[in-house]
Amino acid sequence: MLTEPPDFIGNILAKLINNQIANSALRDKMQNWRMTVVFDTDYYPVSIIFDETISIKSGIVEEPTLIFKMEFGTILELVERKTSMIRAIFSRKIKVKGFRHLIALYRFYGLMNTILK
């Protein structure tokens, strides 16, 4: 299980991921991921670090693989299914940096689609 951090957004993201970690196939896959993803929200940024285990901390880690810039309200819209990841990216509600890391992007996009369902 991913440790739930003491900040608000990090804690919520951790809870959402933990809900899916029960799925052993996903958990096994994530164990092999080596990347860092920053959620740069209008509240504050949090970083998700995949490195054998997963951890979340507030702030921006150095040289992240991917940066997702979005409002907290957009996360809510995703959870409420008012929009989808792909639609939010195309409408620039989510701005992504790190397109060159296509595998990382594909993995994280899949994870987000799973946890925000």
């Binding site: 739930e4 003491p6 804690n11 809870k15 509240y43 504050y44 409002e71 309200g73 809510l76 959870v79």
Partner: protein, 475 residues
């Protein structure tokens, strides 16, 4: 003392009189910083006649009496202020005596808890509801009404004292009296007017004017559907301004706002919970009811409209419908709205728990919250503010809560911080509620002395031997 114990034994039965070291210790303190003092003994009556006999004996022997039910006031209100006091524990008087569906009230004894009431109404009177506080289900309904506490209908209907239709009390001189419409007989507890409103002789007196043995409390029709939403806001003034707008729309039954730290406690963030830069400052639960889904949706739409207007000033303000809150926070989020609630057992992380809470003029609400926050931060406590608009915002309420280990250094810090908070609130004309003695002393220094002189005269008139909870409110 042996003789006194025997005489109490004769009234309630030896099984219901306790003077052991353990019992006296348990009844000598609560979780607050208020100094402990052991009672002489504890007596547990089960009838009004026994209460009368206890009071008669206390008058004869000049024994101070302290009414007690479950000790959940978190204000030191049942800690004896004098030596040689006897605690009158009323929890055996636990009957719901009557529920009147026509006039919508219930008559209950002191030991009835919010858990009892909810279960009883849900089972036998499903079209009616009472109101529930942010307190555990084992809290006394009568005590909460008499100490003018808050509940989940306070936003629309005021403090729980405003729900009292009438009561029966044993006066400090032993006579049994009723106030309110039940003076015309049983089955007639519909209200407190048109009469001199003598509820005021017992409400807010912290047990100094007698022992209330029955109380009639208003019930309300239960509407067909209900909804909840969570609102996350930034800044004290922006938050209180938005809450004022929402309250005055008259659409929302309960508005219960708290520091984000408290919400993070519900998310199981461990002690000590700190605020992170950029996090919302406050989370508010807005509760609303309706007689149809259409009406409910319309209320939510109007809420969204008010929040959207606030977003023009602070775009990060968000309103979240409850199903999404549950998705984000997990099912424990429902503990936030399921009153009476044991969710706030997180507050009992340590052996110490206290708070400074006041009713205040709504114009000072934001200022009070902002100033209070600075004081709490200065003393490096967790930021745990609660606030609620009362009675359609004729009154605003705010409090700061502290959970703490009861070591000497922390107790000293708690006392200093509480005093500074209260001094600041009093400077804004606020009045503390569930007032511990130290707090009442501060109020008396600043308030119109004629009020307290009148209170002393009333107390002396009703209780010439000063046996009922002497020392409370520093009278």
């Amino acid at each position: 003392m042996v003789d006194l114990k025997k005489r109490f034994d004769n009234i309630v039965g030896a099984k219901y009189v306790a003077d052991g070291v353990g019992e006296r210790y348990i009844y000598s303190f609560d979780m607050t910083e208020n100094p402990a003092r052991q009672p002489l003994m504890i007596v547990m009556p089960s009838t009004v006649e026994e209460v009368q006999k206890i009071i008669e004996l206390a008058n004869e022997t000049l024994t101070p009496l302290i009414p007690f039910v479950t000790g959940q006031s978190v204000g030191g209100l049942t800690i004896p202020q004098v030596d040689g006091a006897v605690i009158v524990d009323l929890k055996r008087m636990d009957k719901i005596l009557e529920v009147d569906e026509d006039a919508m009230y219930m008559v209950i004894e002191p030991g009835v808890t919010f858990g009892h009431v909810k279960r009883h109404l849900d089972k036998h009177h499903p079209t009616l509801r009472y109101t529930y506080p942010l307190a555990p289900p084992y809290t006394s309904v009568l005590a909460n009404a008499l100490v003018q506490g808050l509940c989940d209908l306070s936003t629309t209907h005021g403090s729980m004292a405003d729900f009292v239709n009438g009561l029966e009390a044993v006066l400090p001189t032993g006579e049994l009296v009723r106030v309110g419409s039940s003076i015309m007989g049983d089955g007639n507890w519909f209200g407190r007017y048109p009469l001199p409103d003598l509820i005021g002789l017992f409400s807010g007196w912290q047990g100094m004017t007698g022992i209330v043995t029955k109380i009639a409390l208003k019930l309300w029709p239960k509407k067909k559907v209900h909804g909840f939403a969570a609102l996350f806001t930034f800044g004290e003034h922006a938050t209180t301004d938005l809450l004022k707008t929402i309250t005055r729309s008259g659409n929302f039954e309960d508005i219960d706002s708290q520091s984000l730290s408290i919400i993070k406690m519900l998310l199981k963030v461990p002690y000590p919970v700190k605020h992170f830069d950029g996090e919302p400052d406050y989370g508010t639960v807005v509760g609303y009811t309706a007689n149809s889904e259409i009406e409910l949706k319309e209320k939510y739409r109007q809420l969204e409209e008010m929040v959207d207007a606030a977003k023009r000033e602070e775009p990060r303000t968000v309103l979240i419908p409850w199903p999404t809150v549950v998705k984000l926070m997990g099912s424990q989020a429902n503990e936030w709205i399921d009153f009476p609630s044991d969710a706030f057992k997180v507050l009992a992380e340590h052996d110490g728990l206290t708070w400074v809470g006041t009713y205040i003029h709504p114009k000072h609400w934001g200022t009070a919250l902002e100033g209070g926050r600075k004081i709490v931060e200065k003393y490096d406590f967790e930021l745990m503010a609660f606030m609620k608009p009362l009675n359609m915002l004729h009154i605003a309420e705010f409090k700061f809560i502290f959970r703490f280990p009861k070591d000497d250094a922390t107790l000293d810090r708690v006392r200093k911080c509480s005093e500074e908070l209260l001094d600041f609130a009093l400077s804004l004309g606020a009045l503390p509620y569930k007032t511990p003695v130290w707090s009442a002393k501060k109020v008396q220094k600043l308030a119109d002395p004629a009020f307290f002189e009148l209170a002393r005269r009333i107390k002396k008139l009703l209780d010439p031997n000063n046996i009922m909870n002497p020392g409370r409110l520093d009278l």
